[in-house]
Structures are given as C-alpha cells and as structure tokens.
Amino acid sequence: MENNKIKELERKAKIIREGILDCIGIDKKGHLGGSMSSADLVTALYFYKMRINPENPDDPERDRFILSKGHSVLAQYAALSELGYFSKSELKRTKEFGSFLQGHPEVRTPGIEANTGSLGQGLSIGVGMALAAKLDSKNYRVYVILGDGELCEGQIWEAITCASFYNLDNLVAIVDYNQMQASGPIKERYNTGDIKAKFEAFGWKAWEIDGHNMTDIIVALDKTEQVKNFPSAIIAYTIKGKGVSFAENNYSFHNNSLTQEQYEQACKDIASI
C-alpha cells in the first residue's frame, strides 16, 4: 500500500472524527467514546474496503456494513455524510426530534443496512446477509463491528457458532477492543477473556491488530478476503474516546454531553491530529 493512500485514509479518519463532534455538539448527550474508538475502523471500511455506491445505495452487489454496537452510530453518520448519502448539515441535527439521524441506526437513514442499538443482534443479522449472498451466488461481503462489552451477550456467541457452521467466509466480525464498557474497564467490570482464542475455538480465523493504525487495519481487511470456508474476526485494539484528550480511556464519556469548553478542546485535539 502506498504511503499517500494511507495518508489519505488518515485524513478521512480525521474528517470522520470532526463529524462525530458535529453530531455531539454542545450540551447534547452522545456516545463520544465508542464512536471515536471505532472511527478508524469505520473509515477503512467505507473509504478503502467496501464496494459501495452512494448514488445507488440499494445496489444488490454492494458490500454490507452493520454497526452492531449501534450507539457508535455517530461515526457512521459522519462517514455516510462524507460519502454523500446525505448532507453534512444533517449531522448537527443528530438525535433531535424529527431528524432521520436517530440515536441508534435505522434503515430509513440512507446507507444504513440494519437497525441496531439493543446490543448483541448485529452479528446474527450479518449471518443472515452472508447466507443470503451464498444463496443468491453473490460476491458481496458482510462486515460487522462489535463492542467488547457487547461480547457479553449470549446471542453473539450463537451467531459466532452459526457463522462457522455455515462456513461463512464472506462474513467479517471486527471487535472494537477498547477494553471499556459503559460502567468502566472490562477488566474491572466483566472480562470476556481472550477474544481471539475464543473466536478460534469457535472455528473462525482471527487476527489481533492496532485498531488506530491504518496500515494494520487494511492489511487485516485484505487478509480476510483470502480466507476460504471460515468466517474472519479482527480484534482491533483501540482507545475509547481516541483523539479527544480528556475522553481517552475515560468511561464517563461513554455517553455524555460536552460543555462549550470541552467541545472547543475536543475540536482542537482533533485538528491537531
């Protein structure tokens, strides 16, 4: 991968983080932490890996992306608006009454593939889409971003079992492994253990990467395409709140509002990346 392509993706990631701040604004609660930690992964999917066409959002051949940790939708809204699915001016209306940018992803929003928000369901929906691709002999691939706290949900493990049973090599699960959940660090709250080993034990191919290193991310995404007969999992080590100094690794910004000062600081932090 050429250096300037990586640079371009990093520039996009910065735009996505700015978009997240647009969504959150001032004195408006929002899931800053998990959106910032997912930002580089979301960027690599939308601007590097996925074959999508904003002009034709329903193209049957398009790759699918499901944000199973739906609360991080601010990153997705930022990416979709950057791609032109809807106007950037909409971002500021996120979560306001009447806006089509709801608190959690809904299919009525252009570019959103599944309703999520109640944690634990997105990977199963991805399994359904991957099965449909096989049935219809289509080549599209399905990418699902999961939270590490979300991995506590039993349904995730039902989906993991199901995906390997059906040899879904067109399905990729990406764990945003920021090691935090809503109430604190997973190590103190509820540790789900060695995620990579668990995926492997359930019959998946799995890799661990730095989820803020664009080269790492795209190399891993490329590798998943070489795998035959197995679903792929990427465990992406990330930092909750990544890019916003006071929110990094700080779970009180899991879902919180920003004061005017904090908002300005956050904008400065992102600008200086």
């Binding site: 979560k95 806006s99 109640s118």
Partner: protein, 308 residues
C-alpha cells in the same frame, strides 16, 4: 412542588433494605450508573453482581439466586430488563413464582435522546400478560422507596418500572402504601381519571384547568397495575359519568387495557390516553416526546370533555 429523582431514590432505598435484610442482592448489566445500583455496589460489593451486558443470563442467574433463598433485584433499562430476557422471566422466574424483582429503569420515552431502541412502549403489556407477575409503576420518589421496601414482603415476581425523568413529589412519608392499593389524590364527581407514572401529575394539572370550567375530576394514582384492584376500580367508577385512563405506554396492553378489562360488563364510557401503537424516537427532551405522542394534560382534558 419538590422535584425528585426516582432512580436515585430507588438506588438508595435498595441499599437501605439490603443493609437490613441479608437476602437482598443486586444484579446489573453494565448500567449501574444509570439504574443507580451503584450505591449498593459501592457499599456492599459482595452482594452486587456485575453481570456484563447479558440480560438473559442475568435473569436466569437471579432465578438461581432466588431458588437459593436470596431476593435478587435485577436491573437494566426497561427494554433490556423486560424485553430481552422475556422467556427467561417467563419460565425461570414467573412460572415457579420466584421472588425476583425486575427493575425496568429509564422506562417509557424517558431516555429521549437514544430513541426507539431504548424506549419502552410495551413493557407493561408484556410483563402484565405473564401469570404471577406483579407490575408496579411508582409515582414519585417517596413511593419508589415504599415499593422497594414493600417488595420484600411480596410473594412472587414483580416488575417495577422507573422513569429517568425527575418527577414532582405527590406523596409523603405518611401516605399509606400497599402493593395492590390505589391512591386517590384528588376527589371529584364527574369523571374519574385512573393514571400511572408520569401521567398522574399531568392528570392533576388537567383537573386544575377543568375545575375552572366547572368540571369536577377525581384523580387516582394506579401504581400497582397488576394485580389490579378491581374493587377500587368499581368504587371509583360508581356515580361518575365516565372514565379516563392515562399512561406513558402503548394503548395496547397497559393500564387502559387493564381498566377496560375490569369494566367490560359495566355500562360506562371509557377513554384511553396513551401511545397510539407506535415506537418512540429520538428527541432533545422527554417533554418534547410526551407532547408529540399526546401524553399531556391537554389530552386528558380533551378526553374528559368528550365524555361529558
């Protein structure tokens, strides 16, 4: 009028009863800062269980704890407490009639920003339909404390629905509370309004306005939606020209439905104020949503006037 935080009242009272009764334990699914079980976790970490974001497991674990003599309080947002583990509640808790308390926090539309996935419009209906399950919606902070305390004496499972919004104090320390008992907050002769939760205060507001028009309205706080006190329903129905019910819940299966079921043999007109079979959505404030879905004093006034 004093405005109070029901979640905080719940969390503190849970800790208080846990101090007095060693059977009390709390379980939470990564929302202790919201459900306010954090007070219990801080003071009694050994009797607080962080269950991770795994509500189904949490409910069945509570069943096991209950079968071993504990009184588990299971906590999450109402959609995740009542909806996600529905069959774990049904089979594991309600069928054997266990003393598990399921706390549905941030109920109704009160988690305004998060939208439909986090707003419960049908939790009363699903919990009410399960045999053995009691359903209680405390009206204010004081009543929340009393519900927590009274729940220790109740045999069988209870679903307790708690709002995220601050609510005015409508009762005080001396107000009598019993599970299954209604509370007449204001007398009236023309119409009886049976209301629950946040709508009780709105009913009192409606009563004020109507009284200026010469219409006399009785306001009943129905915090125990199940078991519904049929005798009191009859008592408060006698002599009035009609009934209005009001709840922050779907018109399908909630308080309105329960009252209609109770009065189906009576010749009395009934109107229901509730959400018209719709999901919630995001908004900046809870009030904005209450307004949009017609959960207002004005809606109650219109229903009352339509009956006269």
């Amino acid at each position: 009028m004093k405005i109070e935080n029901l979640r905080e009242a719940y969390g503190k009272e849970l800790l208080a009863v846990a101090r007095e009764d060693s059977r009390v334990v709390a379980l939470d699914a990564d929302l202790c800062g919201s459900t306010m079980t954090i007070f219990m976790e801080k003071e009694m970490p050994e009797r607080f269980f962080e269950m991770g974001i795994a509500e189904q497991n949490m409910v069945s674990v509570a069943a096991g704890l209950s079968l071993s003599g504990k009184i588990p309080f299971v906590n999450s947002f109402s959609v995740f407490a009542a909806g996600q583990p529905y069959n774990q509640i049904r089979q594991g808790v309600a069928l054997p009639n266990l003393n598990v308390r399921i706390i549905g926090s941030s109920c109704g539309l009160s988690d305004a920003g998060d939208g439909a996935t986090h707003q419960s419009v049908e939790d009363i209906a699903i919990m009410r339909a399960i045999p053995n399950m009691a359903v209680i919606v405390p009206v204010d902070a004081e009543e929340t404390r009393k519900v927590v305390r009274a729940s220790l004496q109740h045999q069988g499972p209870i679903y307790i629905r708690i709002t995220r919004s601050l609510l005015p104090a409508l009762t005080n320390r001396h107000t009598e509370f019993k599970i299954g008992k209604m509370l007449c907050l204001a007398e009236g002769l023309d119409i009886t309004v049976f209301a629950t939760g946040i709508m009780v205060f709105k009913a009192l507001q409606a009563r004020e306005i109507l009284s200026k028009k010469g219409i006399s309205v009785r306001v009943i706080n129905v915090s125990t939606i199940k078991p519904l006190n049929i005798e009191e329903i009859f008592k408060y129905t006698k002599g009035v020209k009609g009934i209005v019910t009001a709840e922050e819940h779907s018109i399908i299966g909630g308080l309105g439905s329960a009252v209609v079921e109770a009065l189906c043999d009576m010749k009395i007109p009934i109107k229901i104020v509730g959400i018209q079979d719709q999901f919630g959505q995001s908004a900046g404030t809870h009030e904005e949503l209450l307004e949009y879905y017609g959960l207002t004093a004005q809606s109650i006034i219109e229903k009352v006037e339509a009956l006269l």
